[in-house]
């Protein structure tokens, strides 16, 4: 009798919870390009999510590529590879890394930890850089060796004039390095500190060198989804820094970029571009992640607003004067794709349709149902600007049925031959996609 009463009382609550979870995402195609459809934001009791279980790649399995192109696993058995980088001599660096970890603040953090672990985001990173050498360009490396070990959640790498720069989560280290070397034993010198702990919510420090090599651009993510760890810990975060390569002097180049997960320089123009991951938990179709050129001194909205002047009510106190300044990004990639990698194509190395544009690695996330991302796309450019619908290039990281995940793409780059390399941090693989020009 007691029990039935309780159950009867609980029924409306359970219904309310179920209703709160049933927000289904719409067609991502409505959110591609400069003017994405933006629905009204919602506040949930339980934000909609879908957490695919990690199963990894079985022997012989690989992602799907368009007809006429070929994909092969260039390296396997890695420890959470995040970034791939090609040196001038053709050697390939693979940065194996994961979050330094953070301490829980509130009950929710324990639950989120469990969700992350199920999605494969909690695996231990190698904290090292592995070198792959494929001198004959057949996609099968003759050498695979650990170049540099005992790093601290590294992410970005850049080689400029005899020096290899490694962006650990807390500092840029500089190592004397000549391409051809297969091991670095010299201790690095610290070029400059970067915003890091004790929270370090978005820990990755993407990095790219300016065209003349004098500056390093570094992406620093916010310390929260939307300031829920307090405003004070956001000082100097959600920004792209410009660091002088020789002196280490740094300044904030652009701000309001919630999580600038990767950076690339456009060939020809030298323009800096970034992929930026936007905020979560206000709906399956909010807020689109984006690819954008980055203006010196530009402010891109976070935390006060998104996609220009769309105010986020979760931020307090609000700042209308900052909202007014917020720049609209160039190109929406649709919501919760978690774009983590970006690199520009260099002519028709893969296929004539990929001659001018950028490849974007979409890690995918669990903040949306149905899932979005989990693929590498190509964003075509016209007259130096992203234009038109993206073209899926490498797909089927999710197993058929989309209930389990085999791999998740992160960093992308081109190798010496123009083949596309992809770091897969859940499959622990580096994939190589070669095109028509390679046959």
């Amino acid at each position: 009798m007691n029990g039935t009463r309780l159950r009867a009382a609980a029924a409306p609550l359970v219904l309310a919870l179920v209703a709160a979870c049933s927000g289904q995402g719409g067609d991502p195609a409505r959110q591609y390009g400069p003017d994405p459809m933006l629905p009204e934001p919602h506040q949930y009791l339980l934000p909609p999510m879908s957490v695919p279980k990690v199963v990894g790649w079985k022997s012989g399995e690989a992602p799907t590529v368009p007809a006429g192109m070929r994909i092969q696993a260039m390296a396997t058995g890695l420890m959470h590879p995040r970034i791939v980088y090609t040196l001038p001599n053709g050697d390939i660096l693979v940065v194996e890394s994961n979050s330094p970890g953070s301490k829980p603040f509130r009950p929710k953090d324990y639950i989120q930890g469990k969700v992350k672990a199920r999605a494969g985001a909690a695996a231990k990173g190698g904290n090292r850089i592995t070198l792959l050498r494929d001198a004959d360009g057949d996609g099968v490396p003759e050498l695979k060796t650990v170049l540099l070990d005992h790093l601290h959640s590294p992410y970005g790498v850049a080689w400029v004039a005899g020096t290899l720069y490694v962006a650990n989560t807390d500092a840029i280290l500089a190592f004397p390095f000549t391409p051809g070397q297969t091991q670095i034993t010299a201790p690095g010198t610290k070029l400059t500190d970067l915003p890091a702990g004790p929270i370090d919510h978005h820990w990755t420090k993407a990095m790219v060198a300016s065209p003349d090599g004098s500056k390093l651009y570094v992406g620093v993510g916010s310390n929260s989804n939307i300031t829920e760890n307090g405003m004070d810990v956001e000082e100097g975060r959600a920004a792209i820094y410009e660091v002088d390569r020789l002196t280490g002097a740094k300044r904030i180049y652009a701000s309001g970029t919630r999580n600038p997960t990767n950076l690339a320089i456009q060939p020809g123009t030298g323009q800096l571009f970034a992929v930026v991951n936007e905020r979560d938990e206000i709906g399956p179709d909010l807020v689109p992640d984006y690819l954008s050129s980055i203006k010196d001194g530009g402010f891109y909205g976070w935390p006060y607003s998104y996609w220009g002047q769309h105010v986020d009510v979760r931020v307090h106190p609000q700042k209308p004067e900052m909202v007014a300044k917020a720049i609209k990004p160039d190109y929406g990639l649709s919501s919760h794709v978690a774009a983590l990698g970006v690199t520009f194509s260099q002519g028709e190395t893969l296929s004539p349709q990929f001659a001018d544009g950028a490849f974007v690695g979409e890690h995918g996330s669990w903040d949306r149902d149905p899932l979005n991302g989990y693929q590498v796309i190509f964003v075509p450019f016209v007259n130096g600007r992203p234009s038109g619908a993206p073209i899926p290039v490498v797909t089927d990281f999710l197993a058929p049925g989309h209930k389990t995940v085999r791999g998740r793409p992160v960093g992308v780059t081109l190798d010496r031959t123009g083949a596309l390399l992809i770091a897969d941090d859940v499959g622990n693989v580096v994939w190589r996609v070669s095109g028509t020009a390679h046959r």
């Binding site: 007691n2 309780l6 009382a9 609980a10 609550l13 309310a16 919870l17 709160a20 506040q43 949930y44 009791l45 339980l46 603040f105 509130r106 009950p107 929710k108 639950i111 929260s224 989804n225 939307i226 300031t227 829920e228 760890n229 307090g230 405003m231 938990e281 009510v313 979760r314 931020v315 307090h316 106190p317």
Partner: protein, 145 residues
């Protein structure tokens, strides 16, 4: 150990201790919610989330202890008014703990603090009536408990 004794000299139930402890945590969350609403320092909202979580854990324990009270004869009848006050407060607090998992300002404003206020209004009379949802006395024929 001193045994709880009811007004009629019969040993009293154990559950009021757990309801009272949990109720105190839930009511304290109104204060921490208020602090967050006035200074916007996230730690106050975090305190609220922990207090409500603690209150709900104690509510669960209280339900188990209540069943034990019935099993060992320290409770015979439900006092429905008190049971409703406490039960509704617990259900609203379950909603409130989810509201407090939102991020930043909307963890508390406006829904979270409103729920905390309603929960406190429900729990105050329940507390003043002794945090007790049962009676031990067997009712006389025709009498309502």
């Amino acid at each position: 150990m001193a045994r709880p004794v009811g007004p009629d000299g019969v040993p009293g139930p154990f559950h009021p201790f757990f309801i009272g402890l949990g109720g105190a945590l839930l009511m304290a969350a109104l204060f921490t919610d208020y602090m967050y609403s006035s200074n916007a320092l996230m730690q106050w909202s975090n305190f609220s989330a922990w207090l409500i979580t603690g209150g709900l854990v104690l509510a669960l324990i209280a339900v188990i202890v209540l069943l034990i009270d019935f099993a060992i004869g320290r409770a015979r009848l439900i006092r429905w008014l008190d049971f409703a006050l406490v039960g509704v407060a617990a259900i609203l607090s379950l909603v409130n703990v989810f509201v407090h998992t939102r991020d930043a300002w909307t963890t508390v404003m406006p829904t979270g603090i409103t729920l905390s206020l309603i929960v406190t209004i429900l729990l105050l009379p329940a507390g003043l009536r002794g945090w007790r949802v049962t009676a031990t006395r067997v009712p006389a024929p025709g009498e309502r408990a």
